[in-house]
Symmetry: C2
Subunit: 153 residues, 2 copies
């Protein structure tokens, strides 16, 4: 098993919670924002799904430009979108070789740092956990009180 | 340098953001909650500070009972509280030997898992990032729009 594949359970222990929270948001609430300057619920979830897939693609290809790749979706339902990008992200992570994971990537233009593929995958997960933390507040504000733990065992 | 000391910059890259967010919350807003069932701003920040210190103590001692340790504070200001627990947590992490970091700890009673000290420190950081993600929404709801990145470089 590659080192990147060993990272998969870690990714899924958080992504499964993201999916559960997303599934609680009714389509009538997709435009909900806690404040005027916040991302809407739909924009927030979409940003999380796109970002992890883009980060994983950068680790696979070594090319930082996927950071600003615009992904076009026909899915309008957040759970369907989450399923699609979770599958794409799993496939991409599975394809990352140990050499690609250890490769240094120059993310200066976008993040102000150079880092290895492994560090970038970790940053991708931290990014997901951060925004999932936002999402918990959104979902509670939408009236849900029966919420999962922040990480699945 | 011990392996636990190498973890310190990682801890501080998130804790510094926690401190910056906490400093934006005026004492008149300490009881603010986004919803009736949410933790108040003060309870949330205090929970983050106590939890990381407790997790680090468990890794140091190998004794999971610090998970439910009740910490008593005389500080009423969140920034002072954050400084106090950041110092205590740094000291504790610095004192963790490589053997303690590799030791398996039975967290079954509290978390349903057994894990190494290293894994528990990582969980402590994920816990901080998750609640910091909550805190970003709180602080934005309190009227702040000039917010830091979720992680300090």
């Amino acid at each position: 098993m590659s080192k990147a594949e060993q990272f998969l359970p870690n990714f899924l222990s958080h992504r499964e919670v993201t999916k559960e929270l997303a599934s609680k948001i009714g389509e009538e609430d997709y435009n909900f924002k806690p404040t005027e300057t916040s991302m809407s619920a739909k924009t927030l979830v979409t940003h999380m799904l796109h970002s992890f897939y883009n980060f994983a693609t950068i680790v696979k290809t070594g090319n930082p430009s996927a950071m600003v790749r615009k992904l076009e979706d026909t899915e309008t339902n957040l759970s369907e979108l989450a399923d699609k990008y979770t599958t794409l992200t799993i496939e991409t992570i599975k394809s990352i070789t140990d050499e690609e994971l250890a490769r240094e990537i120059d993310m200066t233009k976008f993040l102000g740092i150079k880092c290895t593929g492994r560090q970038l995958l970790r940053l991708a997960l931290d990014h997901e956990i951060n925004h999932k933390g936002n999402l918990f507040v959104y979902v509670r504000m939408l009236g849900h009180t029966d919420l999962p733990m922040f990480v699945k065992k």
